[in-house]
């Protein structure tokens, strides 16, 4: 056998060894009280809420796995239904309208909204816990220049000129009742065009900046709207419903103790707290988990 064939064999041998080494790594985790996997939605506040509730559980002795930036409900819902995650922190009205497929059952009454939500969650072996008083609704913003030009203060004002304007928001906005369809049915607002961007993120800001949209979906608890020169239009006909922060959990892991921990956070958290936490993360680039840890410490959580 000449050297070429020998080195050919060597090459094949190397390849086979690489194939044999292909096995993945295993992970292990044992917690004293059990493991809970919590997901965060793919926007800044999603991470804040995930760490806030997650760290409270960790403080109580649970082992907590975090899944940050896990897309929108379209990713999170199937993941919690098949037990890949145990818990996410949702928003009462938006979650209800997601699970009832946009039936329009959500109202401004948070307790009624959560009760309805629980009816839909029951079949999925999920439940929504006691809602927080903290609210973060969808809001619609324009730049100050646009607001001045058309003298816009409310969404009713927007309805008069909306046909000349381009709206931007995340892809699901086109079908969610508290977004484009709701604007049409409640205010009669139709836009010249809809640009698919993100949920109050970089793309939306960039689109505002270069003028490719005039109206954008933002979140009411967003900390930097003012400093960005954006004006939120008043929801004068109450399109937005009770989007109170509410933990959604798999019934199988919702023990009394877990519920107690989560409900305590919901009870303590306020809308200004959340805006403040969002500001620390979005504007000062603090790590979300560090900001929420400071909040928990300040509130003497668990002491």
């Amino acid at each position: 056998m000449n050297w070429r064939l020998r080195s050919a064999r060597a090459a094949l041998a190397i390849v086979l060894v690489m194939v044999a080494a292909a096995c993945g790594s295993t992970s292990s985790g044992t917690g004293s009280k059990g493991t809970i996997t919590i997901a965060g939605f793919k926007f800044s506040e999603g991470s804040v809420l995930m760490y806030l509730y997650g760290q409270a559980l960790a403080h109580d002795g649970y082992t907590v796995n975090y899944k940050p930036n896990l897309g929108s409900r379209e990713v999170v819902a199937p993941a919690i239904e098949n037990g890949q995650i145990d818990l996410y922190i949702g928003y009462a009205a938006t979650d209800l309208e997601f699970y009832n497929k946009g039936a329009g059952e959500a109202t401004g009454d948070v307790n009624a909204t959560v009760a309805k939500l629980n009816q839909h969650l029951q079949t999925q072996k999920l439940e929504a816990l006691t809602p927080s008083n903290t609210i973060d609704t969808n809001a619609f913003a324009v730049t100050k220049a646009t607001a001045d030009r058309y003298s816009l203060k409310t969404l009713s004002d927007l309805a008069k000129v909306s046909k000349q304007l381009v709206m931007g928001g995340p892809p699901e906005c086109k079908t969610r009742p508290f977004c484009v369809p709701g604007l049409k049915s409640v205010y009669g607002i139709t836009f010249k065009d809809f640009k698919t961007l993100d949920a109050d993120g970089t793309l939306t800001r960039a689109a505002f900046a270069n003028g490719s949209i005039q109206v954008g979906l933002v979140f009411s608890s967003d900390a930097d709207l003012n400093s960005l020169g954006l004006v939120v239009l008043q929801d004068d006909k109450h399109l937005e419903s009770a989007d109170n922060v509410v933990p959604v959990i798999r019934t199988a892991v919702a023990s009394d103790e877990v519920k107690k921990v989560l409900n305590a956070i919901s009870a303590k958290l306020t809308t200004p707290d959340l805006i403040n936490l969002n500001a620390q993360v979005q504007l000062q680039h603090q790590d979300a988990d560090a900001a929420t840890k400071a909040w928990l410490d300040q509130n003497n959580y668990g002491q």
Partner: protein
């Protein structure tokens, strides 16, 4: 444009003070990125080699193999990962099904092309020397096809490194997660640094494979 709009754009491309305290994030993400890529390419290779050999030997298999993986290749990756969640969850398996599927087409094509480019007179000579088909495949055809196969593995590796960033949608993206984090929070530093690292990773992987090829398959230099 109103003044004060888009503070974020006045921020430096890289905030070094932040980076200096968050280096570990990038180390962990890079390691995960390499793991996801290595598993995908190695498994794809293990599938592609026998599949390519079979498609070369039995011509009837060729079109079905190319068509099936060709169609797989056209499925948008974000959709694929999300569609798999109900079945395989937010696991490495979900990520790898997609990554392996995309890589197989690239490698299997090169295996077939490589085997087909073996000159007919070389095969005749091997037959004349009394090689049986199995031994001829192992000792004559595959070694001569190795340069093409290596080229396929290199393309698959570089493609996979880019594709891994998309698996961030299921929370497993290596450097993609930091890119997503930067996009979501409007923070340039993780976005820029993770993108640069991802490109660097692709370059290093390609050069490493090229080097390996020179050492392990010296005859490819003549090809």
């Amino acid at each position: 444009m109103p003044s004060g709009l888009f503070l974020a754009t006045q921020e430096p491309w890289i905030l070094w003070s932040w980076l200096s305290t968050h280096g570990q994030l990038f180390v962990d993400a890079t390691v995960q990125h390499i793991e996801l890529t290595a598993i995908a390419v190695v498994v794809a290779f293990a599938i592609s080699l026998p599949l390519g050999v079979a498609a070369h030997r039995w011509k009837v298999l060729r079109n079905p193999v190319f068509t099936v993986f060709g169609i797989f290749y056209t499925i948008p990756s974000i959709a694929l990962f999300v569609l798999l969640i109900p079945f395989t969850g937010l696991t490495v398996l979900t990520a790898e099904i997609g990554l392996v599927g995309y890589a197989v087409l690239v490698i299997v094509r090169n295996v077939v092309v490589g085997l087909e480019s073996v000159p007919a007179d070389v095969i005749d000579a091997a037959n004349g020397m009394g090689y049986r088909p199995y031994r001829r495949l192992l000792q004559v055809e595959l070694p001569l096809a190795l340069p093409a196969i290596f080229a396929g593995v290199r393309i698959a590796t570089v493609t996979t490194i880019g594709l891994v960033t998309i698996t961030a949608v299921i929370g497993l993206g290596g450097l993609g997660e930091l890119i997503l984090e930067g996009l979501v929070s409007g923070f340039r530093t993780p976005l820029v640094v993770a993108s640069v690292l991802s490109v660097a990773l692709a370059l290093v992987a390609d050069l490493t494979l090229a080097g390996t090829q020179r050492v392990a398959v010296p005859w490819s230099r003549e090809a």
